[in-house]
Each structure stands twice: as C-alpha cells, then as structure tokens.
C-alpha cells in the first residue's frame, strides 16, 4: 500500500518538474475550429472550449498546483515546530502570550481572510501562500507545544536537564526527534489543506489570471462542458482528490512506522 501511495506522489512530483516538456501539445495552443471534443488518439483527454489539449494543460499545471502547497507545508512546519517547541519548553509568559495569539488566529475564518486579502491585493498566489502559512501555523504550534509539554516531563528530558545541557540542545537533540512522527504527519496534512484551499481559490477565480493552466481554474472554466467533454473538468478534480488522498494516507502510515521505529 505504501508503495502505491509513494508512486502516486512521485508521479505527481515528476509531472510538476517535467510536465511542460513532456506535454504532447502546447498547453496554450487554441483550436477554435475543433472546439470541445471528447477523448481521441490525438487528444487523450479531449479538448476544452477553445480546443486546447486537456492532458497538456494538466501536465503544465502540475507545477503550480504542487509547488505552492509544498511551500506552504514547509513554511508552516518550520515555523510551527520552532515556535511550538520553544513555547512548550520555555513555558511561562512567553508560552501564554504565544497561545493567546494562536487563539486569535484560530478564531479567524481562514478562507474568508484569504479571499479578501488576495482579492484586494491581487498579484497571484504569492500573498495567498504567505497568508495561508500564517493561518495554518497556529494550529500546528498547539500540537507541537502540547507534545513538547508531554515529552518534557519524561525522565530522559529531566535527565538531560540534570546533566546541565543547554536548552537548545535539549529542545532540538532530545525532544524534537521524539516529536518527528507527528511533525511529519502534520506537514503532509498542511500540504493537503493548502492544495485543496488553493484549488478552491482558483475555482473562485481569485489569484491567477484567466487562461493559466491550473487545476482549480480548469475545473471552473470547463464545468460548462460536462456534456461535450466531461473529462475536461473531471480530470483535474480527480487529480486533486487522488494527490490529496495519497498524501493524507501516507502521512498516516509514516506516523505509524516512525512511532514504532523508535520514538513513541
């Protein structure tokens, strides 16, 4: 099962890297005479209203569909792990202050803030990604912090303190490896949340200019073609679902193996 999940994600990653190069057609080339038609030998997934090859557009869009969520996941994970560890280990007023700020951020309706922010500022995914990382971080900080609190009371952590080790060493060398299973699993969940949210934003027409090959945007643009070429909107939707599910399940499995493997 894990091999299947990794293969799915690896294929998606490969498409993101070399999708442009292997696309059978120019993703932007229009063929208005042809219009929207179903699958054929030339166009495996058919064409959209403007006669553009759906498969080529999916491949070309893989890069942006995956790159930004990965950026969000990496940013969120680094930020939340560092802050959560610090808050949990240090405790006291630093912890209280960070938790109140986190409460505030969690109380904000995230998607709405994104829509307003990106709608007003414009300028593509850049801001949306930054805002998303900021919005996702507080929840993850809480998770890391509560795990740190639990680990800090373990005898090995107290022994490290008793040995007079520096706080940074206790945090990163002793506590962090024991949080790793959760950190990795939550990084994959952040990736999934960002993937789906960004697709949602493009579906709403926010973020990217019309005509960009993007999975979310393709669902929106082609949803009128369900009778002529249903694959034009179903294929990108299916891709998002498959990649998101694979990442979620892989996170689950990684958590289990890593927990068994050493740290509990």
């Amino acid at each position: 099962m894990r091999a299947v999940l990794i293969t799915v994600l690896a294929l998606a990653g490969l498409a993101a890297l070399v999708g442009d190069a292997v696309a059978p057609h120019d993703p932007a080339a229009q063929n208005l005479v042809l219009g929207a038609v179903g699958p054929s030998a030339d166009h495996w997934l058919g064409t959209d209203e403007l006669g553009r090859d759906v498969l080529s557009r999916l491949l070309a869009g893989a890069g942006s569909a995956l790159f930004w969520p990965v950026l969000v996941a990496v940013g969120t994970t680094l930020l939340s792990t560092a802050l959560g560890l610090y808050a949990g280990y240090r405790g006291g007023w630093v912890d209280s202050l960070m938790m109140r700020v986190a409460d505030l951020a969690i109380a904000m309706p995230g998607m709405l803030v994104l829509i307003v922010l990106v709608g007003v500022i414009g300028g593509g995914y850049g801001w949306a990604v930054l805002a998303m990382a900021v919005l996702f971080t507080p929840g993850d900080i809480r998770v890391v912090r509560s795990l740190t609190l639990a680990q800090r009371q373990m005898a090995y952590a107290e022994a490290a303190y008793t040995l007079g080790l520096r706080p940074s060493r206790i945090m990163f060398r002793h506590l962090l490896p024991n949080l790793a299973p959760t950190v990795v699993a939550s990084a994959l969940l952040s990736f999934v949340a960002a993937l789906v949210s960004l697709a949602g934003l493009s579906f709403l027409g926010i973020g990217l200019p019309a005509g960009t090959p993007d999975w979310g945007l393709m669902i929106e643009e082609n949803r009128g073609l369900l009778d002529l070429n249903p694959l034009a909107s179903i294929a990108p939707a299916a891709l998002i679902t498959v990649v998101a599910s694979a990442a979620t399940l892989l996170g689950d499995r990684l958590f289990e193996t890593m927990s068994e493997g050493g740290a509990r």
Binding site: M154, A155, E158, T162, L163, G164, P177, A263
Partner: protein, 586 residues
C-alpha cells in the same frame, strides 16, 4: 468442588505466548499465579475470562463448573457475557483507570448487582456491599472515583467485581499500584471475603511474598509455561525448580542485610524459542545436556507438588554466592574526606496549593555514605529529590552540596556547577533513556558534561555498569528493563558526581533483575566512593542498600537512624505500621 479446569491452554499471537498451561481452581481456594513480566500469567487469566486482546487466539480447554462444565474456549461472545461478572469476575491492577471517572462509586456497584436485590431497596443493597469491603460510610456511594484514595478505589472496585456474586474472582496484581500499608489491608480483605463467600480466587502477582502469604496453592510461570506448582508454604520452603529457587534467592529481606544480592543471569527467552527444551536451561546453574534434549514434563513429587525440572534442586544456601565483581575504573571520581558532610538540607519547604509536600525537612548525607529516604506516595520523597536536582523550586530552606549553596531559586534555574556534583537515576526504565538516541551517543553526551580531565569513554562507562561495549550502537528499545537502568546509571556516573540520587530505581524491575541493579548500586557506593541518596517505598530494598535512613510521612521526617537498627526496632507509630505491612520473606 472444582470451579475451573484449564487444560492445554495455548495462546498465540504473532508468536507463541502461552504454552500448554494446566490449572484447576476449587471453590474456597486461592490459586497464586506467579511470574515475572512476560511470563504469560496475565494472558492466561484473560483467556479464562474470554478477554484476550485482538489478534491473539487461545486453544485448549477452559471448563467452568464441576463435571462436564461449560467450555469457554471458542464460546460465543453472548455466552461469555453471561459468564463474566456473574460467574467469573475480574479485578484489575490500576484503581485509577478501572473505575469510570464520570460515575459514582454506588453506580459502579449497582450496575453489576443481580436484577432483583434480595429484599430492601437498591440503595440499601449498595450500602451493604460497601460495608462488606470495609467501607462503613454510606456517603462513599455518592462519591466519584477522584474523590477517593487509591485504597478506597480498590475496595470499591472489589465491591463492584463481587456485586454479581461470582464463583471465581480473578485478581490481576490487585495491590501493585498501592502503598505498602494499603496493600496489606487489601490483601487481608481479599482473604476475608474469599473465606466468607467460599469463592475461588486466582491471584496473579509478580510478588512471591504476596503469593506465599495469601495462596493455598501456587503455580510458577516462566516463558509462557508452568514450571512448578504446589502448596504455597511448601514451595516457599523447598522450591523444586531452579527458577523458583533463583527468584527466592533474589528477594531482598527486610529483616537482614544480605552480603551479596544474587539475581538470575540473562533474560527470559520468548516462549516460541524454547518449545522443545527446558525454558530455563540457558540461565540455570544446574543445567545438563539432558535439559536441552527434550522438554521436561511437569513430574509429580507427591502431595500436589509438581516440577518441570529433571534434577534435584540444590538448596539455596548450599554454596556461598560469589561476591559481585568490583565496580572499577582508573579515572578518579569525586573524592572528599569520608565522613565529611556532603549534602546538607535545612528546613526545606514546598507546598502545592494547600497540599504541603515538604514541611521543613532536614537531612544530611556524608561523603561516601548511602542514605535511604523511605515513604509512601504523597510523603514528599520525590519532591525532596527533585529539589536537590533543581527540577523543583522549594518555597523555603537551603540545600548545600559540597560546601556550595545549590538551592534552586526561580523556575528551572540551577547553580552552574550543580550538575557535576549531583546526578539522578530515575524510576521508569521505559522513559529514562531518549528513545531516539543510541546508548553510545547518550553516554558520550553525558560524559562531555563532566570535567574534561580524566573523562570516561563510552566503553569505560559501559564496562563500569557491566554491559558489553557493543551495546553502544543499540537503541534503548533493543534493551531489557534492567539493561536500560544500567545505562541510566552509567549516564549518571559519566560526570563523576559526588552524589547519586536514586529515585525508586528498581521499583519497575522484576525481582531477578532488581538484585543485579541493587548490587551494582552497592558497588558504586563501595568502590567509587559516590554517596547515594536512595529514595524508595520498599523497606526490604532500603535495608540492602542504605547505611542510614529517614522515614518521611506527610512531608516531615518522623524517624531517622541507622537502617538495621531502625527497621529492627522502629520507634514511631508510622514506621511500625510500615514494617508490619511487609509480607514475610520466605
């Protein structure tokens, strides 16, 4: 009348866990199932009640009742449900998780009562049941578990287990989580109830002293099988299997200080690896070629005695035990003039809200001396050690170590040199080592915290605690409990401290392993000159290791003095009660 007949019970999961176990329990009889962790005693009991964890299967026969009886192996869940609580009841170890925190004590009992109470209201019946387990205050019925002490909870749990008037009670380590004095009361209560009701009891315990004190017959389990059985008193006096004899030899005694504590070498093998040989042969001093040719059957010795050993067991005191190897190193350890005061604690106070953990404790440890701190849970003994380690900030008082004031002031602040003076061995071997680091990196890191001059290498440290150097590359999960505790001791010794605090270092270990670790700590004190502050609830353990001891009760020292004298002639009431609650060592 036979209540329960177990024949050929075999439990398999991914591997073989319990191998061909036979048991019988008669009405009015207490059967002790004794063994160390991993011997399969709890699984056996669970299989009898049809409560095996998912993934494990039992084969063989479990017959309930006299004559033809009722076959419980392979019985439908509906049948088992009608048996549980009404004919077989279980009493578990942990009184903290056994009761539902959202339901009152009375509800727990009421829901297991037979449908129609014999005369009187339900309430009266609940009060009567509480009185049966020695709770005379009817108000307890309306209390929630968190409002009750551990002993009270165990009594309520017992009343609930007995509410369905079962013929057979399976008690799985019912007193292990309780304090010594409470433990004694609960055991006496169990015996009283068993006699009054004429009930059969299966008592599962790792504590031989408890088994011999309470049980009519004892079955000793090892690596998933029964190696010896017989009347409790006989087995205690003349063990007929080297394993039993080894366990008895490893038992520390509260009445005398043993010159050498002898554990059993090696570890318990998995049941699956020893199916065709004597399971104990690899660790046995008397093993011959015969022992590994075929599996010895339980042979009868007469008078209900059976043993799975081919040989006559040598009497325990026949051969003088070899002295333990010296704990040696060429590197200098902290030295002070023996007898000089090393640790001086004055008027130490700490309160958590309204609960006073330490109410002005004074204590002195001299260089090279080992001092025991004895008390039950809530006595403040752990708070005391945590104050010295700088993990807890006391409200008042003064801690002086080697002439330096190391009293922690403020959150997690600590005198800069304190970590080179005092180190600690913690209780729980499963959390005391970082699971993500290898033994070698744990020890190397610790050694680097000590003075640079004469630093011990990882190999030196492992050698010091009697572990092979190859263990350096292992992760903690590949070690047994005793081995982990040795590594924890090596880590504490790595900085060559003047004082080693041991906070219940053997409380979670099996008896045979406990002896090894205690002997190692004695060596540390004797050969390295390190002072020990030994915290424990176990009087037999403190007798073996400490020259002087103090008794803590509710945050105050109630008695102190030389260990032997104090335990032989306790003066304070509380100390007397403590001493009286220790089951006699066979």
């Amino acid at each position: 009348m036979t209540l329960l007949t177990v024949t050929g019970l075999t439990i398999t999961g991914r591997h073989l866990l319990v191998d061909d176990v036979d048991l019988t329990v008669a009405a009015g009889e207490t059967l002790g199932l004794v063994g160390e962790s991993g011997s399969g005693k709890s699984l056996t009991a669970r299989a009898v009640a049809g409560l095996l964890p998912k993934g494990l299967t039992a084969t063989g026969s479990v017959l309930l009742g006299d004559g033809a009886g009722m076959q419980l192996i392979g019985a439908r869940e509906r049948v088992l449900r009608s048996v549980r609580g009404n004919r077989i009841s279980l009493l578990m170890q942990d009184p903290f998780t056994m009761l539902n925190p959202l339901r009152t004590a009375g509800l727990h009992i009421a829901e297991s009562l037979p449908k129609r109470p014999r005369g009187g209201t339900l309430r009266e019946e609940v009060v009567r049941r509480l009185a049966e387990v020695g709770i005379d205050d009817p108000a307890v019925a309306d209390r929630y578990p968190f409002q009750l002490s551990g002993g009270m909870r165990q009594r309520v749990a017992m009343a609930a287990a007995l509410a369905g008037d079962p013929e057979l009670l399976i008690a799985d380590e019912p007193t292990t989580a309780l304090d010594a004095t409470t433990q004694h009361e609960i055991l006496m209560l169990l015996r009283k109830l068993q006699e009054a009701r004429g009930m059969g009891v299966v008592l599962i315990t790792h504590d031989l002293r408890v088994a011999f004190e309470l049980c009519d017959r004892v079955s000793v389990m090892y690596a998933g099988r029964i190696v010896e059985r017989g009347p409790g008193a006989h087995v205690a006096k003349e063990p007929a299997h080297p394993y039993t004899s080894g366990l008895l030899a490893a038992l520390p005694s509260v009445t005398r200080t043993l010159p050498v504590l002898t554990g059993i070498p090696g570890n318990v093998p998995p049941a699956a690896e020893v199916t065709e040989v004597c399971a104990f042969a690899a660790r046995c001093g008397q093993a011959t070629a015969e022992c590994t040719k075929a599996r010895p059957v339980l042979r009868e010795l007469g008078a209900g005695r059976h043993t799975a050993c081919l040989h006559e067991v040598r009497p325990r005191n026949d051969h003088a035990p070899e002295p333990a190897p010296a704990v040696q190193t060429s590197r200098p350890f902290f030295t002070a003039e023996p007898g000089e005061p090393l640790l001086r604690i004055e008027d130490l106070r700490k309160a958590y809200g309204t609960h006073v953990a330490l109410g002005g404790v004074a204590l002195e440890v001299r260089a090279g001396e080992s001092v025991g701190v004895v008390g039950e849970s809530g006595s403040g003994k752990t708070t005391l050690s945590r104050c010295v380690l700088g993990l807890v900030t006391p409200d008042g008082g003064r801690i002086e170590l080697a002439g330096e004031d190391i009293t922690p002031r403020g959150r997690r602040t600590r005198a800069a040199r304190a970590h080179r003076l005092v180190q600690c061995v913690f209780q729980d071997p499963s959390t005391s080592l970082n699971p993500a680091l290898t033994v070698g990196s744990t020890l190397a890191e610790a050694a680097a915290q000590g003075p640079a001059e004469g630093r011990l290498s990882v190999a030196d440290l492992l050698d010091l605690v009697g572990l092979p150097a190859a263990y350096a590359v292992r992760k903690p999960r590949a070690l047994s409990g005793g081995e982990r505790q040795r590594v924890a001791i090596a880590r504490a010794l790595a900085v060559r401290p003047a004082l080693l605090i041991c906070d219940e270092p053997v409380a979670s270990l099996d008896v045979s392993v406990q002896a090894h670790v205690l002997e190692l700590l004695r060596g540390v004190s004797r050969d390295l000159g390190t002072s020990l502050l030994f915290i424990t609830h176990d009087l037999a353990v403190v007798r073996q290791i400490a020259e002087r001891m103090v008794v803590l009760f509710k945050g105050a020292v109630v008695e102190s003095g030389e260990t032997a004298g104090l335990l032989d002639r306790p003066r304070h009431d509380y100390t007397r009660r403590l001493v009286a609650s220790v089951p006699p060592t066979p």
